[in-house]
Structure formats: structure tokens, C-alpha cells
């Protein structure tokens, strides 16, 4: 029936820390938009506190973090902690940018990041991953 529920996947893409590179995150944003998702973009240089507050207000299911500054081991654990403190541990967190594999493993195993997408990832893989996560929610 037309006019029934119209559920959409909402994604918040954020750039934490001091990092001026947003080409990658915008390409991901366009791919997710073209896959029918509602993508909210934060803009550059967000603090963990600010972006967690924004993610809560926007009530997103997915939080995507793009970091190319090398500060991921400081920023991401802090963001995960803030989410848990805000009772929002159910938000799926994914990350991308320049994150070495060893660090990625720690972020997933110890900090609760759902997945880290490295350079060269096919955007279709990200779309499929998000859809699968949201279906399970």
C-alpha cells in the first residue's frame, strides 16, 4: 500500500580531529546517497563530543568516521566511549581513511568498531555492509 511506512537508512559521516581531507568521505557520501540512504555530513574538524551530540540529534543508525590525520587511535576510542556513555552503543560505527591494519584490528576487537574500510575499498562493499547491519537492527 502506498503511504505506508517509509523507513530510510540514516548515516552520519563525520571528520573528527584536525584533518582537512574530505574528498574520500564525500565520495562515500555520494555512493550512499545514490544507494537511497539519507546521508548527513558534518564538515571538517569535529571534536568527538560535537559529533556524538550531532549523531544523537540526527538519530542515525550508522556513524561513519573518516580520518587521514593518523590520530585514529586517540579519536575513535574516545568517540566509542562517548557513545556508550550516551546510551547509544547500538549505533554502528564504521571507519575509513588511512588506518593501518594492525590498528584496525584493535579498533574492531577492543573498541567495538564494526568495520574499518581501507583505501581502495569499492563503495558497493560499504553499501552492502551498511544494508546488512541495518537489516539486523
Amino acid at each position: 500500500m502506498r503511504g505506508a511506512m517509509d523507513k530510510k537508512i540514516r548515516v552520519f559521516l563525520a571528520k573528527p580531529g584536525l584533518d582537512g581531507h574530505d574528498r574520500g568521505v564525500l565520495i562515500v557520501g555520494q555512493a550512499l546517497r545514490d544507494a537511497g540512504m539519507e546521508v548527513i555530513y558534518s564538515g571538517l574538524k569535529q571534536t568527538p563530543e560535537n559529533l556524538v551530540e550531532a549523531a544523537l540529534q540526527e538519530d542515525v543508525g550508522i556513524l561513519g568516521l573518516s580520518i587521514l590525520s593518523g590520530a585514529h587511535m586517540a579519536l575513535i576510542p574516545r568517540i566509542m566511549e562517548l557513545l556508550r556513555e550516551s546510551d547509544a552503543g547500538d549505533v554502528t560505527v564504521i571507519a575509513g581513511g588511512v588506518i593501518p591494519n594492525d590498528d584496525a584490528e584493535v579498533l574492531v576487537a577492543e573498541h567495538g568498531v564494526a568495520r574499518v574500510f581501507g583505501p581502495g575499498t569499492d563503495t558497493r562493499e560499504i553499501v552492502a555492509f551498511i544494508r546488512e547491519r541495518e537489516e539486523r537492527r
Binding site: R2, M5, D6, K8, G36, E38, K45, Q46, L56, Q57
Partner: protein, 323 residues
């Protein structure tokens, strides 16, 4: 994990931002469970001043909204912001970037910003936006700013029934009036020429003032929309804009028009909901075998004309409703 509508309602009234965010999601998804909470919230709404912000793309609406919100925060008033942006009619997706221009507000829990995709195809945007306004109103926000591109009927409807409607334009080599789409000049309570450091700003102001001066149906005691120049990025003209908004509010209160506007808003809201319900009922009827489907076939065979077919559907719906 999932809160009941009553839980959401209770939490929202206690100032829980997540409850407000969750309820807005339910409204956006046209989830029937939002209804119960909206019903209870209605009597708590009505305290906030609702400001519409519209204008052509790139005129600086988001930056202006951000600066205006900062102004209100300095006065210790809480602010709700709703940014409506178009969804793709092809994929239904949207890239919502208004927060990029509002970074200095992020982190302040007294400013609640929500980005909405227009989700065009369903035609429920006005209804959903009104619901979100009411939620933020009941949530206790003193000022609620609704920002939308002034293109398309639905977007205009959204800002038309706010308390104070601001129309934003910028100097553009004589095109500033052109940039204001037909039907928008009539609904502006305040006009803003933003980016006033650009060439042609005085001319843009003069043109606008002349257009407003010669607007038909303007009486002596009616509100005269001021034209204000701003440089939102530099924060210039924001105090003047805020002063114009409170002057407009004062005018509405003194003239008794605030009540009239509220009634108009309620009427428009009711009509939007009815439109949505009736058109959904009609669409469903068209898919019913032996009713709409049959009529459509007869139209294709040139047995019945479209107007008579529509009359038959209306009669069918009325008869069914009367049962």
C-alpha cells in the same frame, strides 16, 4: 531497547534529546506508533516562536540560521532547527550538508538541529515537517527555525504558515528578484539581502523595497516587510535581523494576528493531513479490483471520461465511509 510511545513522550517532556530524536525518526518514517506520542504532546506545544527561512540555493540560509541561533543562545534562549533538503526522486537518497555551515552550534545541547530529506514521492513532507515543529515546540525550544529551499509548492507550504517568514536573497546582477520564486514574495514577513558586500547590494535592496511598496492589497495598518542587509559569514546585520523578528512578533501579538496566524496554521495543518489521507484512500481504491482498476480500463476504452470516473471514485469512497 525500544521505547513505547508513552515512554518517548514522558522522556521528551523531561528534556531527553534522544527521545526527541527518536520520535522525529518515527514521524519521518510515517510510523503509526508516533501518533500516540504526538497526540499527548499537542497540548504542550504552542509556546515557541516559529521562524521560516527560505530563499534560493547558495543565498546563505544555513549560515544565517546559524548566526541567528547564536544570537538567541547569547540571550539564553533555546533553539530548534529543522533543515529540509531535497531527496533524489530517483533513488530516494539525500546528501544533507546544512550542518557543515552550522559547526559553531554543534556540541551545544540547547540547540537541536535536525536534517530532513524531503522524501518527495509520498507527498507527506508538510505533514512530517509540521509534526517535527510541534515536537520541538513541546520539547521546549523557544525559537524554532525551519529552513528550506524556496522552490516547489510543498517547500513553500512548509514556511508559509510559520509565525515569521524570512526570505533570503543576494546581490546577483539584477537577478535577485528573479531568484525569488513566484509566490514567495507574498509570504515574506522579512526580506534579507545577504552577502551585502557584493556589488549591487544597494540596488537589490531598492528593487525589493519597490516591489514590496507596490504589492497589491497592502493596507495602512498591515505589517510592512523590512528589507535587511546582512553579511552572515562576518556576522553583520544579525542583530538587526533578530530585532526585526521580535518587532514582527510584537506586531502579531498587539494586532491580534498571532491568534489568527495560529488558527491559519492549524487549518493548513489539518488540510494537509486530510489531503494525505484522502489521496491515500483514493489511491488504494484505484488499485482495488472492480473499482478503480475497472474504471481505468473503461477510461482507456473511451467509455468514460476522467472527470466522471473521478466522481464515481468519490461516490464510492463516501459510500464506503458512511457504512
Amino acid at each position: 531497547m525500544k521505547d513505547s510511545p508513552n515512554d518517548l513522550y514522558q522522556k521528551l517532556l523531561k528534556g531527553d534529546r534522544r527521545a526527541a530524536a527518536r520520535l522525529i525518526t518515527l514521524v519521518e518514517n510515517a510510523d503509526p506508533s508516533a501518533r500516540q506520542a504526538l497526540k499527548m504532546l499537542h497540548r504542550h506545544s504552542g509556546g515557541g516562536h516559529i521562524v521560516g527561512m527560505t530563499g534560493s540555493p547558495g543565498s546563505g540560509k544555513s549560515t544565517l540560521t546559524c548566526r541567528l541561533a547564536r544570537h538567541y543562545r547569547d540571550e539564553d534562549r533555546s533553539v530548534g532547527i529543522i533543515c529540509v533538503d531535497p531527496s533524489s526522486p530517483f533513488t530516494g537518497g539525500a546528501l544533507l550538508g546544512d550542518r557543515v555551515r552550522m559547526q559553531e552550534l554543534s556540541g551545544d545541547p540547547e540547540v537541536f538541529i535536525r536534517s530532513m530529506g524531503s522524501r518527495g514521492a509520498l507527498g507527506g513532507l508538510s505533514v512530517a515537517t509540521n509534526d517535527v515543529i510541534n515536537i520541538l515546540d513541546a520539547f521546549g525550544k523557544d525559537v524554532i527555525i525551519v529552513e528550506t529551499v524556496g522552490a516547489g509548492q510543498v517547500e513553500i507550504e512548509v514556511v508559509k504558515y510559520t509565525h515569521t517568514c524570512i526570505v533570503v536573497t543576494m546581490p546577483g546582477g539584477g537577478d535577485e528578484i528573479q531568484a525569488i520564486k513566484a509566490g514567495i514574495l507574498e509570504i515574506g514577513d522579512i526580506f534579507v539581502v545577504n552577502k551585502s558586500d557584493r556589488d549591487g547590494a544597494p540596488r537589490a535592496v531598492a528593487d525589493l523595497e519597490m516591489m514590496l511598496e507596490t504589492k497589491p492589497g497592502t493596507s495602512e495598518e498591515a505589517w510592512k516587510p523590512p528589507v535587511i542587509t546582512t553579511m552572515a559569514l562576518a556576522g553583520e546585520g544579525i542583530d538587526e535581523l533578530a530585532a526585526a523578528i521580535s518587532a514582527h512578533r510584537g506586531f502579531l501579538v498587539e494586532s491580534g494576528l498571532l491568534e489568527e496566524k495560529t488558527v491559519q496554521r492549524m487549518r493548513a495543518e489539518l488540510l494537509e493531513i486530510l489531503n494525505l489521507k484522502v489521496s491515500r484512500a483514493a489511491e488504494n481504491a484505484l488499485e482495488e479490483e472492480g473499482v478503480g482498476a475497472e474504471l481505468v480500463r473503461r477510461m482507456a476504452d473511451r467509455e468514460i471520461d476522467p472527470h466522471s470516473a473521478a466522481d464515481e471514485v468519490v461516490e464510492y469512497l463516501l459510500k464506503r465511509a458512511g457504512r
